[in-house]
Amino acid sequence: MATFLVILHGLLAVALLGSITHQAVAVVWPARSKAGFASAYRSVSSPVYANANIVLFLAVACLGAYIYPVYRVWVRTYLESARLYSAVGSFEIKEQFISIGLGLLPLYWLVWRRPDPAGQSARTAVTLILCFIVWLGFIVGHILNNVRGFFGL
């Protein structure tokens, strides 16, 4: 069951990663023309991603919270016995960043609900912060999920 949930957690994280990266690129580097792949990627309507990103972030975080005890009891104990402290520390940082991301979600919703000029810098900043959190969480999760292969254990 835990393996299935970890895979589901990963798949939803992939969807979130793609969605929020798409939005972040369109915010930071917008394009008017849709000619070519790069311009088409940059010219999407950013606001339409907001609600999907919120739902996906919550779903990934809730799934992560549900399977967290398995990591805490079995995986972290193993990592500590293998003296992989940087791997344990990476997960700790991921955990704290996801929490901060959860606290940012109401603001993210607010700045995208009614895009007004006053919230422009906040809109860019919050989107980039959440994008960074999602990327970090994904990379750390991926490395930990494959830690034995990565570290030749």
């Binding site: 005890p69 805490r72 700790e92 940082i93 704290q96 929490s99 940012l104 109401p106 603001l107």
Partner: protein, 109 residues
């Protein structure tokens, strides 16, 4: 409470959540503890019963309730001011930077 008031409170909530969260982590202000090996819950911070205790869920609840209280207290102060969007992302960003510092020991062993 009208929509404008809620809009003004949200940046305060996000800022307070991040600040209270990192203090909760550092001082271990968990509202409850989970003991995953034996599937038991306990109020506030408890030492290990069997296996490692988990405080993360408790920190999240502490931060949510704390941020809600801070937001409610801030409401009268925000009444005649514009929405302080900047507050909602600068504080979490600073907290994120502090996380790297606070957890540096894992990478220096």
């Amino acid at each position: 409470m009208n929509t404008t008031a809620i809009e003004k409170l949200i940046p305060v909530f996000s800022a307070a959540f991040a600040a209270i969260y990192i203090v909760s982590v550092e001082l271990n202000w968990a509202l409850f503890t989970y003991h995953p090996k034996i599937h038991q819950w306990g109020w506030l911070v408890e030492p290990s019963r069997d296996g490692p205790p988990m405080y993360w869920y408790g920190w999240l609840v502490t931060s949510t309730l704390g941020a809600a209280v801070v937001s409610a207290i801030a409401l009268p102060l925000l009444k005649n001011r514009p929405t302080q969007y900047w507050l909602g992302w600068t504080v979490p960003l600073l907290v994120m930077l502090s996380v790297f510092y606070l957890f540096r020991d894992f990478f220096l062993r």
